[in-house]
Protein backbone atom coordinates (compact mmCIF):
# COMPACT_ATOMS: atom_id res chain seq x y z
CA UNK A 1 0.00 0.00 0.00
CA UNK A 2 1.46 3.32 -1.04
CA UNK A 3 0.17 6.86 -1.30
CA UNK A 4 1.29 10.11 -2.86
CA UNK A 5 4.19 11.56 -0.89
CA UNK A 6 3.42 15.04 -2.14
CA UNK A 7 0.22 15.33 -0.18
CA UNK A 8 1.36 16.29 3.28
CA UNK A 9 -1.90 18.00 4.11
CA UNK A 10 -4.45 16.92 6.67
CA UNK A 11 -8.09 17.71 5.83
CA UNK A 12 -10.87 17.11 8.32
CA UNK A 13 -14.40 18.33 8.69
CA UNK A 14 -17.11 17.86 11.25
CA UNK A 15 -20.65 19.20 11.72
CA UNK A 16 -21.64 20.53 15.11
CA UNK A 17 -25.10 21.38 16.45
CA UNK A 18 -24.21 24.95 17.41
CA UNK A 19 -24.16 28.20 15.39
CA UNK A 20 -20.87 29.39 13.80
CA UNK A 21 -20.29 32.14 16.35
CA UNK A 22 -20.54 29.64 19.22
CA UNK A 23 -18.40 27.09 17.37
CA UNK A 24 -15.74 29.75 16.73
CA UNK A 25 -15.80 30.83 20.36
CA UNK A 26 -15.44 27.30 21.74
CA UNK A 27 -12.70 26.42 19.25
CA UNK A 28 -10.62 29.48 20.18
CA UNK A 29 -11.34 31.10 23.56
CA UNK A 30 -12.79 27.81 24.80
CA UNK A 31 -9.88 25.64 23.64
CA UNK A 32 -9.25 24.51 27.20
CA UNK A 33 -12.64 22.74 27.09
CA UNK A 34 -11.62 20.30 24.39
CA UNK A 35 -7.88 20.36 23.50
CA UNK A 36 -6.54 16.85 24.19
CA UNK A 37 -4.67 16.67 27.48
CA UNK A 38 -1.26 15.03 27.35
CA UNK A 39 0.02 17.33 24.61
CA UNK A 40 1.37 19.88 27.04
CA UNK A 41 5.07 20.51 26.31
CA UNK A 42 6.22 21.83 29.69
CA UNK A 43 7.40 19.80 32.70
CA UNK A 44 5.03 21.46 35.12
CA UNK A 45 1.40 20.20 34.95
CA UNK A 46 -1.00 21.99 32.63
CA UNK A 47 -3.38 24.47 34.23
CA UNK A 48 -5.16 25.55 31.07
CA UNK A 49 -4.77 26.06 27.32
CA UNK A 50 -4.93 29.66 26.06
CA UNK A 51 -5.38 31.29 22.65
CA UNK A 52 -4.92 35.07 22.61
CA UNK A 53 -7.89 36.48 20.61
CA UNK A 54 -6.16 38.49 17.90
CA UNK A 55 -3.91 38.12 14.86
CA UNK A 56 -0.38 37.75 16.20
CA UNK A 57 -1.69 36.29 19.48
CA UNK A 58 -0.01 33.31 21.07
CA UNK A 59 -1.34 29.81 21.61
CA UNK A 60 0.11 28.33 24.77
CA UNK A 61 -0.35 25.96 27.63
CA UNK A 62 -0.26 27.70 30.99
CA UNK A 63 1.53 25.51 33.53
CA UNK A 64 0.69 25.26 37.22
CA UNK A 65 3.97 27.05 37.96
CA UNK A 66 3.05 29.97 35.70
CA UNK A 67 5.19 28.95 32.72
CA UNK A 68 3.65 29.73 29.35
CA UNK A 69 4.58 26.94 26.95
CA UNK A 70 3.96 28.45 23.52
CA UNK A 71 3.07 26.07 20.68
CA UNK A 72 1.40 28.33 18.13
CA UNK A 73 0.66 31.81 16.83
CA UNK A 74 -2.59 33.27 15.54
CA UNK A 75 -2.28 34.22 11.85
CA UNK A 76 -5.90 35.17 11.14
CA UNK A 77 -8.63 36.03 13.62
CA UNK A 78 -11.89 36.50 11.73
CA UNK A 79 -14.86 35.54 13.89
CA UNK A 80 -17.21 33.89 13.28
CA UNK A 81 -16.00 32.43 9.99
CA UNK A 82 -12.27 31.81 9.97
CA UNK A 83 -9.34 31.18 12.26
CA UNK A 84 -5.76 30.39 11.18
CA UNK A 85 -2.80 29.56 13.36
CA UNK A 86 0.82 28.55 12.90
CA UNK A 87 1.80 25.20 14.41
CA UNK A 88 5.24 25.65 15.94
CA UNK A 89 5.76 22.11 17.23
CA UNK A 90 8.42 20.16 15.40
CA UNK A 91 8.86 16.46 14.69
CA UNK A 92 9.91 15.97 18.31
CA UNK A 93 6.88 17.82 19.66
CA UNK A 94 9.17 20.66 20.72
CA UNK A 95 8.62 24.39 20.23
CA UNK A 96 10.40 25.81 17.19
CA UNK A 97 9.96 29.61 16.94
CA UNK A 98 11.11 29.82 13.31
CA UNK A 99 8.05 30.55 11.08
CA UNK A 100 9.85 28.80 8.22
CA UNK A 101 9.60 25.56 10.25
CA UNK A 102 5.95 26.00 11.23
CA UNK A 103 2.98 24.34 9.55
CA UNK A 104 -0.36 26.07 9.30
CA UNK A 105 -3.86 25.21 10.47
CA UNK A 106 -6.84 26.93 8.90
CA UNK A 107 -10.29 26.42 10.38
CA UNK A 108 -13.48 27.60 8.68
CA UNK A 109 -16.87 27.77 10.34
CA UNK A 110 -19.65 27.53 7.76
CA UNK A 111 -23.39 27.77 8.50
CA UNK A 112 -25.04 24.39 7.89
CA UNK A 113 -28.73 24.13 8.68
CA UNK A 114 -29.02 25.35 12.25
CA UNK A 115 -25.47 24.27 13.00
CA UNK A 116 -21.95 24.67 11.69
CA UNK A 117 -19.75 22.76 9.34
CA UNK A 118 -16.19 23.03 10.64
CA UNK A 119 -13.54 22.49 7.98
CA UNK A 120 -9.96 22.11 9.13
CA UNK A 121 -6.88 22.05 6.91
CA UNK A 122 -3.43 21.43 8.39
CA UNK A 123 -0.96 22.25 5.61
CA UNK A 124 2.74 22.84 4.98
CA UNK A 125 3.68 19.89 7.14
CA UNK A 126 6.75 19.63 4.88
CA UNK A 127 8.12 22.73 6.63
CA UNK A 128 8.85 20.49 9.60
CA UNK A 129 11.27 18.56 7.41
CA UNK A 130 14.43 20.18 8.72
CA UNK A 131 13.64 19.34 12.31
CA UNK A 132 12.08 15.97 11.54
CA UNK A 133 15.54 15.03 10.26
CA UNK A 134 16.90 15.45 13.77
CA UNK A 135 15.12 12.27 14.71
CA UNK A 136 17.53 10.24 12.60
CA UNK A 137 20.46 12.19 14.01
CA UNK A 138 19.67 10.65 17.35
CA UNK A 139 18.19 13.63 19.11
CA UNK A 140 15.23 11.62 20.30
CA UNK A 141 14.12 12.78 23.70
CA UNK A 142 11.68 12.13 26.50
CA UNK A 143 8.28 13.34 25.47
CA UNK A 144 9.48 13.62 21.88
CA UNK A 145 9.31 10.68 19.54
CA UNK A 146 9.05 8.13 22.33
CA UNK A 147 6.04 10.06 23.58
CA UNK A 148 4.59 10.12 20.11
CA UNK A 149 5.19 6.41 19.85
CA UNK A 150 3.16 5.79 22.96
CA UNK A 151 0.41 7.77 21.26
CA UNK A 152 0.87 5.76 18.08
CA UNK A 153 0.54 2.59 20.09
CA UNK A 154 -2.72 3.72 21.66
CA UNK A 155 -4.08 4.71 18.28
CA UNK A 156 -2.96 1.53 16.64
CA UNK A 157 -4.39 -0.72 19.36
Amino acid sequence: MTSQTADLTVRRSITVAAPPAKAFEVFTSGIDRWWPRGHHIDDSPLKREVIEPRAGGRCYGLSEDGTEAVWGRVLAWEPPGRFVFAWHLDGEWKYDPDPAHASEVEVRFLPAGGGTRVELVHRHIERHGATAAKVSAGVASEGGWPGLLAEFAKLAA
Binding site: T2, I14, P19, A23, P36, V118, H122, I125, G138, E151
Partner: protein, 105 residues
Protein backbone atom coordinates in the same frame (compact mmCIF):
# COMPACT_ATOMS: atom_id res chain seq x y z
CA UNK B 1 6.76 6.27 1.27
CA UNK B 2 4.11 4.35 3.09
CA UNK B 3 0.49 4.89 3.80
CA UNK B 4 0.01 6.18 7.31
CA UNK B 5 -2.19 3.25 8.27
CA UNK B 6 0.71 0.95 7.38
CA UNK B 7 2.99 3.03 9.61
CA UNK B 8 0.47 2.82 12.42
CA UNK B 9 0.05 -0.91 12.03
CA UNK B 10 3.83 -1.32 11.94
CA UNK B 11 4.18 0.44 15.28
CA UNK B 12 1.29 -1.44 16.83
CA UNK B 13 3.61 -4.36 17.63
CA UNK B 14 5.51 -3.82 20.92
CA UNK B 15 8.76 -5.45 19.74
CA UNK B 16 8.72 -3.46 16.55
CA UNK B 17 8.14 -0.33 18.57
CA UNK B 18 11.14 -1.21 20.75
CA UNK B 19 13.23 -1.66 17.60
CA UNK B 20 12.06 1.70 16.26
CA UNK B 21 12.74 3.46 19.57
CA UNK B 22 16.32 2.16 19.55
CA UNK B 23 16.81 3.53 16.06
CA UNK B 24 15.34 6.87 17.10
CA UNK B 25 18.45 7.27 19.29
CA UNK B 26 20.78 6.82 16.34
CA UNK B 27 21.73 4.51 13.44
CA UNK B 28 22.61 0.93 14.42
CA UNK B 29 23.47 -2.42 12.85
CA UNK B 30 21.03 -5.28 13.38
CA UNK B 31 23.19 -7.03 15.98
CA UNK B 32 23.20 -3.99 18.19
CA UNK B 33 19.46 -3.53 17.82
CA UNK B 34 18.85 -7.17 18.76
CA UNK B 35 21.02 -7.01 21.88
CA UNK B 36 18.85 -7.07 24.97
CA UNK B 37 15.65 -7.74 23.08
CA UNK B 38 13.82 -10.97 23.91
CA UNK B 39 13.69 -12.07 20.27
CA UNK B 40 16.10 -13.68 17.83
CA UNK B 41 18.20 -11.71 15.41
CA UNK B 42 16.30 -13.05 12.37
CA UNK B 43 13.11 -11.88 14.08
CA UNK B 44 14.61 -8.41 14.46
CA UNK B 45 15.54 -8.44 10.77
CA UNK B 46 11.95 -9.31 9.96
CA UNK B 47 10.70 -6.41 12.09
CA UNK B 48 13.16 -4.09 10.36
CA UNK B 49 11.78 -5.16 7.00
CA UNK B 50 8.24 -4.30 8.08
CA UNK B 51 9.39 -0.91 9.39
CA UNK B 52 11.22 -0.29 6.13
CA UNK B 53 8.16 -1.19 4.08
CA UNK B 54 6.15 1.19 6.24
CA UNK B 55 8.55 4.03 5.38
CA UNK B 56 9.65 4.47 8.98
CA UNK B 57 13.16 3.04 8.71
CA UNK B 58 15.83 3.08 6.04
CA UNK B 59 18.99 1.08 5.59
CA UNK B 60 22.40 1.88 4.17
CA UNK B 61 25.65 0.03 3.67
CA UNK B 62 28.72 0.95 5.65
CA UNK B 63 31.64 -1.28 4.65
CA UNK B 64 30.49 -4.84 5.11
CA UNK B 65 27.56 -4.12 7.37
CA UNK B 66 24.15 -2.56 7.04
CA UNK B 67 23.17 0.35 9.23
CA UNK B 68 19.54 0.98 10.03
CA UNK B 69 18.15 4.37 10.92
CA UNK B 70 14.85 6.21 11.22
CA UNK B 71 13.70 7.56 7.87
CA UNK B 72 15.03 11.14 7.94
CA UNK B 73 11.95 12.77 6.54
CA UNK B 74 9.67 11.34 9.19
CA UNK B 75 7.11 13.54 7.53
CA UNK B 76 4.62 10.97 6.45
CA UNK B 77 4.63 9.56 9.98
CA UNK B 78 4.15 13.04 11.35
CA UNK B 79 1.30 13.69 8.95
CA UNK B 80 -0.29 10.43 10.02
CA UNK B 81 0.09 11.41 13.61
CA UNK B 82 -1.49 14.83 13.04
CA UNK B 83 -4.30 13.22 11.07
CA UNK B 84 -5.15 11.06 14.08
CA UNK B 85 -4.60 13.97 16.45
CA UNK B 86 -7.21 16.10 14.65
CA UNK B 87 -9.63 13.20 14.50
CA UNK B 88 -9.64 13.01 18.26
CA UNK B 89 -9.39 16.74 18.84
CA UNK B 90 -12.33 17.59 16.57
CA UNK B 91 -14.51 14.92 18.15
CA UNK B 92 -13.76 16.46 21.56
CA UNK B 93 -14.38 19.94 20.14
CA UNK B 94 -17.80 18.89 18.78
CA UNK B 95 -18.84 17.63 22.22
CA UNK B 96 -17.63 20.84 23.91
CA UNK B 97 -19.29 23.17 21.36
CA UNK B 98 -22.64 21.38 21.56
CA UNK B 99 -22.53 21.34 25.34
CA UNK B 100 -21.71 25.07 25.46
CA UNK B 101 -24.55 25.78 23.03
CA UNK B 102 -27.02 23.74 25.10
CA UNK B 103 -25.97 25.61 28.26
CA UNK B 104 -26.81 28.91 26.54
CA UNK B 105 -30.36 27.89 25.71
Amino acid sequence: MANRSVAFAALGDPTRRAVFERLARGPRPVGEIARGLPVTRPAVSQHLRVLKDAGLVRERRQGTRRLYSVDPSGLEAMRGYLDQFWNRALAAFKTAAERAHAEDR
